[in-house]
Amino acid sequence: MNLLIKFFSIFLLIIFIRAVYILPIWKRPTQMKTKRQKYKIPISILSVIGSGGHTAEMLKLLDGLLQKDRTRYYQVNFIVAKTDKNSKIKIEKFIQNIRENPTSLIQKNQFKIFEIPRSREVGQSFISCILPTIRAFFSSLFVLFKTKPKLLLVNGPGTCVPVSICAFFIRVLFLNKTDIIYVESVARVKSLSLSGLILYIIADRFLVQWTELYQKYSKSEYIGRLF
């Protein structure tokens, strides 16, 4: 029994060291570029869609990616909070628009929408959000294992935090490698959002849309306003 506990602690220690080792925060953005020369395309994207403004910004980014070269990124899956019916309608409209585009090369079934419980409703107390948070983590794991994305594209809604943490730990355990790219909302000029602060630690690339933030956070990258 004692031996078992010892092995288990060593195992945990190794995982911990591995997690700390691969944390992107130690590295410069240029080092975070994927090293593989030839990536197998299409690159599947998992995108977390959240409330109002974030949804519009994310759909604009995806629209750009899909307009340019549809054979490269055509597999896009969405995660949306179960209670967020509005965003779901917007995604469905977005998918329909892309499908109706005559220049589109894509076939059916490359878009899927997954719903996960929201970890925290606005105004909910800390204690009452523990159970929903655990549920959110399990659904995130389920979606990540099912879709095995190469790219997790997130931009800030609360739902993106459990999904990104799960993706990071899946990578720690060598189960899959998902690159996390975070795009801070255009509404953030001088200060990061709460999701932004968390993702700053675990995201491989961290884009901001204003020079004020770029100067403040050394790991951030700036390629102009995107929305």
């Binding site: 975070m32 570029k33 994927t34 593989r36 020369q37 030839k38 990536y39 395309i41 690159i43 109002g52 403004g53 519009a56 604009k60 980014l61 629209d63 750009g64 990616l65 307009q67 340019k68 070269d69 490269r72 990124y73 190469k150 790219l151 690159d179 790219i181 909302s185 255009v186 509404a187 953030r188 000029v189 001088k190 200060s191 959002s193 491989d204 690339r205 884009l207 204003w210 004020e212 990258e221 390629i223 102009g224 306003r225 995107l226 929305f227």
Partner: protein
């Protein structure tokens, strides 16, 4: 001239009250405003001062799924600091006055409006009580249009990350 006032999904009583005042009404008359539409959020609103002017069409409503058509019809938009409304108005190339809603705590959205005002894309009003002064001295020609974004920048960023050549 047609004005559209929008407060977003919460409420902004101070702004609505300023717009519905004798002082603002006189200014609107001077500027030749013929129509004003107010979106009042969660709050019920019955115009008092505005109703006194017979040459002015007043429309009010609480919430709608999309304010796009109202922005399209307006010649000037007076709005809260919401990013969605700001960008919707600027893309429609409409002059915009953003009035900060003090009653909202931790209002990071003032950052965005302040920044865009600095770059002369909109007018920024720190407190609803300053709105009449800003409206009185407004010079719409002084505004610069917001440059369009180029999706290629983000596309090449992602391509580059995965070492994909174009």
């Amino acid at each position: 001239m047609k004005i559209f006032v929008t407060v977003g999904t919460t409420k902004f009583t101070e702004l609505i009250n300023i717009v519905d005042s004798q002082e603002f009404l006189q200014l609107m008359k001077k500027k030749g405003v013929t129509e004003i539409t107010l979106q009042t959020g969660t709050e019920e609103f019955e115009p008092k001062e505005l109703k006194k002017e017979t040459n002015l069409t007043v429309k009010t409503f609480k919430l709608v799924p999309s304010i796009e058509e109202y922005i399209e019809k307006a010649d000037l938009i007076i709005s809260h600091g919401g990013a969605g409304t700001i960008f919707e108005s600027l893309r429609a190339k409409k002059p915009l006055i953003v009035v900060v809603n003090d009653s909202l705590m931790d209002n990071h959205q003032t950052e965005l409006a302040e920044k865009l005002a600095e770059e002369k894309h909109l007018f920024y009003c720190e407190n609803s009580s300053f709105l009449p002064t800003i409206f009185k001295n407004i010079e719409i020609d002084g505004l610069l249009p917001l440059p369009d974004t180029n999706p290629d920048k983000f596309n090449s960023f992602i391509d580059n990350h995965f070492n994909l050549k174009i």
